[in-house]
């Protein structure tokens, strides 16, 4: 079966800046695909081109076999798009915003009533139907935007940082909703800066400087970090960082707040503690740890920057 979302050599330049550079993305039917990467990696530009609100400078992209450049209007009923920034009408109430999108998509009569009820319930917004959208909390705004993007029951959802600036509880709730949509068979392409969210995706693609540097299942990506990992807790982080590369079997390290994650050929905690103590590093604790997607992501980023 051909993937639902395919981009081939997709490019977008803004003047001399290359925002998206020969991007080859493929999202299978029914997947939750997480696009991760630092700010300016080209995630938003990619989603805008897929939503057919931005013209590519080169290459092609299609959703369910429909070319996004040549047949953008055929996409409208198929795709639901949620831009990064709040894009509803602040002066209209929750219900008025939803009704507006229902009307624009020609959802009418009993069907409209049915879908409005369902989406309001789904987005946990039943209590706030009369509130102007501008007066909603950040999380509620995002849920309303999602509800509006779902009013025409799209088969494909494009979500641009849907949980950015949202509190953790609302974030979890939002992902529960995405989980329900996933079960209904909706294909979801979502960008996110949060690694714990990327862990909830079927596939993760890492974007950097407009290119896709790696894609795969989260558990596969986690394995990309080399060797074994030890977490070193020490008050002398700077000193530890300065000497760690001299340790035999050293592969890479990352600093996380009060601790140092060290990747080694062989994870011998006792040997490492001796080495550090000899180099004037006070060691509080060394624990073996399994690398998360975050470590893999940071490792891949440093690989790319060094190359």
């Amino acid at each position: 079966m051909t993937p639902t979302i395919v981009t081939t050599d997709l490019q977008r330049r803004f003047g001399k800046t290359v925002a998206v550079d020969h991007l080859a993305l493929s999202v299978e039917n029914g997947e939750i695909y997480g696009l991760i990467g630092p700010d300016g990696a080209g995630k938003t530009t990619t989603l805008r081109m897929l939503a057919a609100v931005l013209r590519p400078s080169g290459g092609s992209a299609s959703i369910a076999g429909i070319d996004v450049v040549r047949q953008p209007e055929r996409l409208r009923r198929l795709v639901g798009y949620m831009p990064q920034h709040f894009s509803l009408y602040g002066d209209l109430s929750v219900l008025e915003n939803l009704t507006f999108y229902a009307d624009i998509f020609g959802v009418r009569g009993a069907e409209r009533r049915h879908r409005l009820d369902r989406l309001l319930h789904f987005a946990r917004l039943e209590q706030f139907t009369a509130r102007p959208a501008a007066h909603l909390s950040g999380g509620m705004k995002k849920k309303l935007a999602l509800a509006c993007a779902l009013i025409h029951q799209p088969q494909v959802l494009l979500l641009d940082e849907p949980t950015n600036g949202v509190d953790p509880v609302s974030r979890r709730e939002f992902w529960d909703i995405l989980g329900e949509l996933h079960l209904e068979g909706v294909t979801i392409l979502v960008t996110t800066p949060y690694m714990d969210e990327a862990e909830r995706c079927n596939q993760v693609g890492l974007m950097h400087n407009g290119r896709l540097i790696r894609q795969g299942r989260p558990e596969a990506l986690r394995q990309l970090t080399p060797g074994q990992m030890l977490a070193v807790y020490t008050p002398d982080l700077l000193q530890a960082e300065a000497v760690i590369a001299d340790y035999p079997g050293y592969l890479a390290h990352q600093v996380y707040g009060d601790r140092l994650h060290v990747f080694l050929d062989v994870a011998d905690a006792a040997a490492l503690e001796r080495f550090l103590t000899n180099h004037d590093v006070r060691v509080q604790q060394i624990l073996p740890d399994a690398p998360r997607l975050e470590e893999a992501f940071v490792y891949l980023m440093t690989q790319v920057s060094d190359a």
Binding site: R48, V53, R55, E73, Y81, S87, G90, F100, Y101, I104
Partner: protein, 365 residues
């Protein structure tokens, strides 16, 4: 085009205006307020001719002239002065614009059948008004002196001036209808703001991914502002008729029709250039520079149209509406008489709206 989607956009746009008090004021109240302000600002009425008299003759005849002038209802008599110094200080302080000096020997000259001379001193810093005041006062003195004409001189050509449509030459009668053209640019400003606000707030990005079509979006934005523009126009017209007492000699229905044509032209043009602008502040400046300022100076409202700038003037909707509005109000003109101007507005409107639809793109950036 789906009429249902068109109605959806219209309905939404009405709500935006209803809930935005500033926008509501801009389209409904501001035209009338601006009309009043500008009418007074650009009033060239003689009633502001404040004048003083310096009677150095102090004869029964000179007193009779003074009496005749100070009871004139059109002129504002400030007082009599006793020296040139007083005239100077009066003008410096702006209390008087004009002074009449009756020299000694005024009565003697008249009685002997010679030509008597009087002097008019005018404040030239206010050139347009001063020349009008001098002409008015000269005319009044001439009328008063008629019985003293020594010999009946037959002029080869005698001019008898009669001013039609506005016999009293009230400036408000010609200004208020013309200023309607200026104040009815406000709805165009509102529609330019509405289009750019949608882009600025980001709601356009979501709307662009719906099945809405260019025609539905453009007409959906246009129609509500034409309706609000008409309400604003009705209030401004009420001010023109009831406050400035300008007679509406033509048909109110014709006038409404012509206003719709004018709104189509101005709103259409505002929408067209707004489609290339992404911020409200730029849109506001564009309306001011491309519409409001030229409409003041190039359309014959305040200064006559420069024949060399005729093409520029004719390309401004306001030029045509000034002729239409003055024609309907003061001359009672209708369709056949104003046809070319109404047609010009309709062509401008249709062209601008068609261009807006053709160049409309459901894209951001």
């Amino acid at each position: 085009m789906s009429l249902f989607r068109l109605w959806t956009i219209i309905h939404k746009e009405f709500r935006h205006v209803q809930r935005d008090r500033r926008l509501l004021v801009l389209v409904i109240v501001s035209p009338a307020v601006m009309l009043m302000a500008f009418s007074y600002l650009f009033s060239f009425d003689v009633s502001t001719a404040r004048f003083a008299i310096f009677d150095r003759d102090r004869s029964p005849l000179s007193r009779a002239l003074v009496q005749a002038l100070i009871t004139d209802k059109e002129l504002i008599f400030v007082g009599e002065v006793g020296s040139f110094e007083e005239i100077r200080s009066g003008m410096q302080a702006g209390e008087i614009k004009l002074a009449l000096v009756i020299p000694p020997g005024f009565a003697a000259a008249l009685e002997k059948g010679r030509t008597a001379e009087v002097q008019l001193l005018a404040d030239g810093t206010d050139a347009i008004n001063s020349s009008t005041f001098v002409a008015i006062l000269s005319a009044r003195i001439g009328t008063w002196a008629e019985p003293y004409r020594p010999v009946e001189i037959k002029m080869p050509v005698e001019t008898r001036a009669l001013v039609w449509y506005n016999p009293d030459l009230k400036s408000s009668h010609s200004m208020a209808p013309a200023l309607l053209a200026i104040v009815l640019i406000l709805p165009a400003m509102a529609v330019a703001l509405a289009l750019t606000r949608e882009k600025e707030l980001g709601s356009f990005e979501s709307l662009a991914t719906t099945p809405v079509r260019a025609s539905e979006y453009v007409l959906g934005k246009l129609i509500p502002y034409i309706v609000y523009g008409l309400i604003g126009a009705a209030i401004a017209i009420a001010v023109t008729i009831f406050w400035f007492k300008v007679p509406l000699r033509g048909s109110p229905l014709d006038l409404a029709g012509f206003i719709i044509a004018y709104l189509l032209a101005t709103l259409g043009a505002a929408m067209f250039f707004s489609s290339f602008i992404s911020t409200q502040s730029t849109a506001l400046r564009a309306v001011l520079l491309l519409f409001l300022v030229p409409s003041f100076f190039l359309t014959g409202i305040i200064i006559p149209i420069d024949p060399q700038a005729r093409l520029t003037s004719n390309s401004l909707p306001a030029t045509h509406f000034v002729v239409i509005s003055r024609g309907v109000f003061l001359k009672g003109l209708s369709w056949p008489d104003l046809g070319p101007h109404v047609l010009a507005l309709l062509i401008m409107g249709a062209t601008a709206i068609a261009l807006t639809m053709i160049t409309f793109r459901k894209r951001v950036g």
